[in-house]
């Protein structure tokens, strides 16, 4: 399976270098550690950072799950899963509970993670202050001095313009009471899942050459105002397939006459619930 490639594509020295960056990132929760990002056989923006992190931590006994927007069957997820099946020969899965490493873009699975799992996030822009302060030299100083007032200026501006905090994804968080962090473009619905999570969370940004981490059981607080507290998205409806009321729902347009349905964005969660509903129904009928 791995013919022609080193195990998990990257050479051993590169993996060591990335592991060193990861160790530093875990030691300083939320701090962006620079690393020597390599060219990968897919373009920037397709998860090169996440792939390099996964490649450096994956072992032959690991079971890999890859999701994109919560789904296991989207292009990005399929190609990355196949990439590691080919280059590392590892077992892959779509079941959240079976996976030891989950690489993700845009979501954290609905099924709670456990302590034996590592979740790897693909990060497009690691710097939370970037749109407010274009100078890298200045943002580094702001991190060093925990000088994060401008982030609240952005939230203030949201409320002044829209009446509520209108930031819905990549919602800024403070990790371990110290570093301001971009949680990558996950919906703010997933922010509370990061707080005191038993799994290790690693973030890789390939183009920007940064790695950061949230170790297990670390506090992750979403920024807010006393009188405009942090809230997550909610829906008036439930999932059209599995009936879930507590999951993140995608709006799917079904025809050109305004028809639409809401379904779980986490395909594994939805499928498992549908199977369970089906079984429950059969038991009731019997």
């Amino acid at each position: 399976m791995t013919a022609g490639y080193n195990f998990a594509y990257l050479d051993e020295q590169t993996k060591r270098m990335i592991r060193r960056a990861i160790l530093k990132a875990v030691a300083i929760p939320g701090y962006q550690v620079p690393f020597g990002s390599r060219e990968m056989p897919l373009p920037y923006g397709w998860g090169t950072g996440g792939i390099q992190v996964t490649a450096s931590i994956i072992g032959s006994h690991d079971v890999l799950k890859v999701i994109d927007q919560g789904a296991d069957d989207t292009t990005n997820a399929v190609s990355i899963r196949r990439f590691f099946a080919n280059t590392a020969g590892v077992e892959t899965t779509t079941r959240t509970t079976d996976a030891t490493i989950i690489q993700t873009r845009h979501r954290i699975p609905e099924t709670p993670l456990h302590a034996d799992q590592i979740i790897v996030f693909q990060v497009p822009i690691p710097e939370p202050l970037r749109w407010l302060e274009p100078r890298e030299s200045e943002t580094r100083q702001m991190h060093a001095y925990a000088d994060y007032a401008v982030m609240h200026v952005k939230l203030y501006e949201d409320i002044a313009r829209y009446g509520h905090i209108a930031t819905t994804y990549d919602y800024p968080v403070i990790v371990n009471g110290r570093y301001l962090m971009r949680p990558s473009p996950i919906p703010k619905f997933d922010n509370p899942k990061m707080d005191m999570n038993p799994a290790l969370m690693l973030f890789g940004a390939g183009r920007e050459k940064r790695i950061y981490a949230v170790p297990p059981y670390t506090s992750v607080k979403s920024l807010d105002f006393e009188d405009h507290p942090f809230t997550i998205e909610s829906w008036d409806t439930s999932c059209a397939l599995c009936g879930a009321t507590d999951a993140f729902l995608d709006e799917v347009i079904t025809d050109d006459r305004g028809g639409k349905m809401f379904v779980c964005s986490d395909s594994d969660h939805c499928a498992e619930r549908s199977v369970k509903n089906h079984k429950d129904g059969q038991e009731k009928a019997a």
């Binding site: 407010l132 001095y145 000088d147 609240h152 200026v153 203030y156 409320i159 313009r161 006393e226 009188d227």
Partner: protein, 266 residues
């Protein structure tokens, strides 16, 4: 002038400047400048272009680190800090609580991507305010004091006229009630009637709040109106320092005499 009456024997200087010098390459932009500024006092720094006025101001307010000399500041708790010896995070906190810096061009002092209210509220959030309604109320009251229509607080600064932008910049600085404000040509680039209104406003604010201020200007009229004391700079040196009326009415240094006699009397 009234500066005298404000002083008592027990007053310690708010700001003590000792032997400040700044070098650009092998050229000294300003050298060996020393003075004291007392609480509530307004000092104007005048001189021609290139005299080192702005460089001096930038080296006092923490914008640039001087090559020589010390700047000592009396904190609210009475302790004296050497501004360039304290750690940078502490200096940053000092700059946004006890100090205000008003730039000649409002573009240097405002955030153009966010509304006027957010511009004023930023300093409050920087010192830990986390209640939206409180921040907004405080911001609105400062906009009102600076004669900016509160109904326009959610507009971007770009929608404001030059004079309004300058007043917005002042509101943004005064919101944390600083004790010392640095101003670099605060009325530069404004037409005369707006200048006059702004000066009037500045004068009443300085009086009401008991602000100390250091104002860099090349306009002697501004200095006459606002300043208790006047420092004249030439070639990077302070050539004359005294009470404003005294310096303007009875200049001693040849350069000051030239400066005063160059002003058109209308």
């Amino acid at each position: 002038m009234n500066a005298i009456s404000k002083l008592t024997a027990t007053d310690a200087p708010l700001l003590s400047v000792r032997g400040i010098g700044k070098r650009f390459g092998n050229r000294m932009a300003c050298r060996d400048v020393s003075f004291d500024l007392w609480p509530g006092e307004v000092l104007a720094i005048v001189g021609e272009s290139g005299a080192g006025k702005t460089t001096l101001l930038r080296n006092l307010c923490g914008d640039q680190v001087p090559d020589e000399g010390h700047v000592l500041f009396a904190r609210r708790d009475g302790s004296i800090s050497d501004v360039y010896a304290i750690p940078e995070p502490e200096r940053r906190i000092l700059m946004r609580t006890d100090w205000g810096i008003i730039h000649q061009n409002p573009r240097d002092g405002l955030r153009y991507g966010v509304s006027a209210g957010a511009n004023v509220g930023e300093r409050l959030m920087a010192v830990g305010a986390r209640n939206y309604a409180d921040i907004r109320r405080t911001a609105a009251s400062w906009l009102q004091r600076l004669e900016i229509d509160v109904a326009r607080m959610d507009e971007l600064p770009i929608a404001f006229s030059g004079g309004m932008q300058q007043r917005l910049q002042i509101a943004r600085n005064l919101v944390t009630q600083p004790r010392l404000v640095f101003m670099d040509e605060p009325t530069g680039g404004l037409d005369v009637s707006v200048q006059a209104k702004l000066l009037d406003l500045l004068r009443s604010l300085v009086g009401e709040l008991g602000l100390a201020a250091i104002i860099v200007t090349h306009d002697l009229a501004v200095a006459r109106l606002l300043a208790d004391r006047l420092m004249v700079m030439q070639g990077g040196r302070a050539v004359e320092l005294g009470l404003t009326d005294q310096v303007l009415d009875d200049p001693q240094h040849p350069y000051t005499q030239l400066l005063v006699s160059s002003v058109l009397q209308i």
